[in-house]
Amino acid sequence: MKNFSMNFRSMDLLTILFLVVAALILVSCEVKKKPTDTTQIRVTGTMDAELTDPPHVPPPVGNREAMRVKVELEIIEQEGVMVDGTRYLYWTFGGTVPGSFIRTRVGDKVEFHLQNHPDNKLPHNIDLHAVTGPGGGAESSFVAPGKEVVFSFKTLNPGLYVYHCAVAPVGMHIGNGMYGLILVEPEGGLEPVDREYYVMQGDFYTEGSYGERGLQAFDMTKAINENPDYVVFNGSVGALNNENALTAKVGETVRLFVGNGGPNLVSSFHVIGEIFDKVYVEGGSMVNENIQTTLIPAGGAAIVEFKVEVPGTLIMVDHSIFRAFNKGALGMINVTGDDDDRIFTGTQMEGIYLPEGGSIQTLPGSGESEQELASNLDERIKFGADVYKRTCAACHQLNGDGLPNAFPPVRNSDYLNADIGRAIQTVLDGLSGEITVNGVTYNSIMPGQNLSDEEVANVLTYITHEMDNNPVEVTPEMVRAERDKS
């Protein structure tokens, strides 16, 4: 008995030890386990998908289970307005460009009903980039006018995906507006935000040029040359402007589901006045932060999020900028709410800026102190030296010798000594044309100096006394007299 008890106790300890180690191993295995095989996600129940017209999106999937989701999408060929005065026959999914927004979660089994309105002229199909299967569904969805076709697919990858028509010529079908977005949310859904909107860029090619009036036909040659007349958000110029602008309130987090249907151009998507706090790069799982402009490939998408902090109108553009201002790639987000000077003040001050000469420019009544007046000759010479250094030395040099062939000397200058009145006038009004100084000819231009009477008197007195000239004192009154002469 005793033996047995002893063995039992040691076995107990061993068992516990074994269990602990096993648990640790199992836990680490959990961590290293591969991601869920999404093909195995079970679907529970059926629902009808709620499709929305742009720029709105259906409500988030939240926590719901994967389900069988029935989607009914109708193709309508219908005339619309590209820009005031210009009409265009759009081929649409759901009657809008871009087509209806489809919202699903990973693991859903989508039963897709594609309906081609009987009045349509052409057969169409659909390729959804969220589909794993031939043609993205295009092979199974070719449908004649007046007919409906059904196929099903399971959403295996989360992300934001483009869908478009893929009937020949594919570029023409896409170029006429047959594209839209399908969102596959991850398990548990995307993080909730305050506002979500649907924006999709597309390029359009018309026979006439931008704004040409009337019903415009698709131009295949321009499309092949990738030379669009219109580059727009949501199918027409101004679709998201003014009364159609998106809205948000200060403090809200905005999420934009942005697609690019092409058919040709890549978008440099930017919101003027905001920075993307988060970008789901190319609509996938990688999240970049603090982005100004994000690239959205043709046939691709991106999810951008930003918190709006100040009121005003934010402008969405394709930053390949001529597209924004000349072809229509411009949309608006109106943010309302209280200002916040900590973040943005608007204009704080307006003033004059005059970059002229070495003299100080001041605004009238700007509160500068009164100029110090020279009270005797020595002061005048001393103040004059300061003026000379900052105004005259640049050309006439610190020693007053000037530059050969360019600037005449003021030191020991016969020209200066001959006529002090003329010297004063030269400083005030400038001088041009041929002169001879100390036997050398100069032909240059001296600009007039913006100096006060005091300053002119001071600088000339300095020159006459300190630079080997006739030591004449020049007074402010003499300067005034010369000024009044002209």
Binding site: A144, G146, A217
Partner: protein, 248 residues
């Protein structure tokens, strides 16, 4: 019998002789152009009024009569009654008719449906040329027609008139042909680039020089989306006749 003969005569005068020849259709290989023997083709597509005459005599083809095997639910849906056009224009091309119904009409009229080759051969003519397929105006006309809506409401004669004097092969409605389903086209237009792949070889790589193929692509694409019992608002037909029959 007399009435029928007169009727037939009247109908022949509304046909035109197409000389035929050789042509290279959208599909097929450069070494083997297709031969088309001379034939007669209706100048206009069959109208609502003409089809009304037909169903008055052959009442099994009236609206709601044919079984679903021969015509789908939308058969003659634009008419308000079995022998009543309602608001539909009598001179508009009759549409919402299945291949079976179109074939029956042509037989009643002593004629037949044209083959795809015959139809394409006659339709490659433009306003001035027998083969206008490389002409920009011809192709623009066709592409613009694809952009226009509800052309099925227009009366006959409002489409293109070609050099044979045949109207509306382009610009009005699609038209049934006898062997519309003989060209196999997969639903996926983007495969290929393979020269052996008949129709879809150029689908995704058509260049500017292949402009003429767009119009044809659309027609072949449309044809391949059809089944014989299908009806479509944009789909009508016209009849053809062998030369030999006439000369007997």
């Amino acid at each position: 019998m007399v009435i029928l003969a007169l009727g037939t005569y009247a109908q022949e005068s509304s046909m035109v002789r197409v000389e035929g020849g050789e042509y290279l259709p959208l599909y097929g290989s450069l070494d083997e152009p297709v031969k088309v023997t001379p034939f007669y083709l209706d100048i206009y597509p069959v109208t609502n009024a003409q089809f009304l005459d037909f169903v008055r005599e052959e009442d099994r083809w009236q609206k709601d009569r044919p079984i679903r095997l021969y015509a789908d639910e939308a058969y003659l849906s634009h008419w308000s009654g079995p022998a009543d056009l309602g608001n539909s224009h009598p001179q508009a091309a009759v549409t919402n008719v299945s291949w079976f119904a179109a074939k029956a009409y042509c037989e009643w009229a002593g004629k037949r449906l044209p083959s795809v080759d015959e139809w394409e051969f006659a339709a490659m003519a433009g306003e001035d040329q027998y083969d206008a397929r490389t002409q920009e105006e011809y192709n623009q006309y066709i592409l613009r027609w694809y952009e226009s809506s509800k052309s099925f409401l227009n009366p006959i004669g409002t489409g293109m008139k070609n050099v044979y004097g045949i109207h509306d092969l382009h610009g009005l409605v699609w038209e049934w042909t006898y062997d519309f389903s003989s060209i196999l086209l997969t639903n996926e237009f983007r495969k290929g680039g393979n020269a052996d792949n008949n129709l879809f070889c150029g689908a995704s790589s058509v260049g500017a020089t292949d402009l003429m193929n767009y119009g044809a692509f659309m027609r072949y694409a449309f044809r391949s989306s059809l089944k014989a019992r299908y009806t479509s608002r944009n789909l009508g037909f016209r009849c053809a006749k062998d030369i030999n029959d006439l000369e007997q």
